[in-house]
Homo-oligomer: 250 residues x 2
Amino acid sequence: MSIPKKHFKKGTPKPDIPEDGVLRYYTMRFCPFSQRAHLMLAAKKIAHHTVYIDLSEKPEWYTDYSPLGKVPAIQLPHLPGKPTLVESLVIAEYLDEEYPGERSFFPKDPLQKAQDRILIERLSPAVSAIYPVFFTTDPPADALKNFEVALDVFEEEIKKRGTPYFGGDKIGIVDYMIWPWFERFPALKYTLAEPYELDSKRFAKLLSWRQLMEQDEAVKATALDAKVHAKFMRTRHEGKTNYDLAFEPL
Amino acid sequence: MSIPKKHFKKGTPKPDIPEDGVLRYYTMRFCPFSQRAHLMLAAKKIAHHTVYIDLSEKPEWYTDYSPLGKVPAIQLPHLPGKPTLVESLVIAEYLDEEYPGERSFFPKDPLQKAQDRILIERLSPAVSAIYPVFFTTDPPADALKNFEVALDVFEEEIKKRGTPYFGGDKIGIVDYMIWPWFERFPALKYTLAEPYELDSKRFAKLLSWRQLMEQDEAVKATALDAKVHAKFMRTRHEGKTNYDLAFEPL
């Protein structure tokens, strides 16, 4: 019994998930918020079943797991009532606390934890600025400029921290929680008429950090190639969103 | 030396805050997110100086404390670098961890903590639905209906928990984090042509909870009368937002 590797759509019956008490991870393969949860599952080596959800045409049964239909969700079938959790940061912290693994990723110090959470939120303006560039064919003229101004915060911060990762000498929660978007930015080398890449001077530290991050096992385990992201973006430009191309050969 | 009780505007110099190491709380008196921080300060009896910020015309110096100009912010002048924290939930958790007070409000159990955080997020659809009713003169026709559907989640949840508070027999973090909006809903008795109140059958448990909450010392310490909220909403309807009327006699 295995769960088909495809995004479940409206009208498709619930997959047969083995009743083996193993954690269930509900995701859309291109969703950066879902990848946050995936990174934690991979980094902590937590066994899980994966169920892919088509976000354009959600299967009717999905609200049983995620009342608002959002991904990611994780279900904990080994616990009473088989509870489901949503919200990527809530899931990340829960997994970090309940599955110690080799180490934990959230800082223990309340001040550092608060500051890391605030830093994670600071990516929002960069994400808001870049999304129209990713997914529409006519983004606002100043989108890339606003994106870079928002990213300056991260270049400054990693400079200030003076360590290879935001988490210090090792990857921490900030690194994993912002990573999914950094995996996607290089798609702009392929989707834009004028290929775009972060400026190597202005974002020197951030680009070194990106290279380091690419070597991480959890990052590798959850990665999609920039060309696949670009291909997905093009399906959205054309109004033919195709989630399953994540599983097709490039 | 005391800080004037008024909302600081663009062009006004920084107030002279005593250099006594006491925590500084930056707020707008009508802001529900700020009230979350205020409730924690009050419940934990944490000494603090209050600085009110005019959100329509923010003082230039405010971005020194809150880089995106948002309230609430707290500054911790007793710590190296005098760090500032933003984001109401981040502030709430930091205060809960660093200032034990008589008791803590976040659950210790990771699952319960995750579920409480998710429940707090579930208020967003109710807030999104009701805001146009609060602050515009021409809200969408289905706004109140959508608001009630979103609140059903809370009525169901408190029924399911079977306790007077979301936190159990005592107030917990969900109670305080959702409270500010419940303080404001009764303003609709005064602002709408057809006075609005939650249905006493459909929201029976939630209304009992509201009555209990009104007795809490921290809730009382941070409260504004529904008529004052209504008056504030009317200044916004008229395009003459007046934050300082929080300090005027009714």
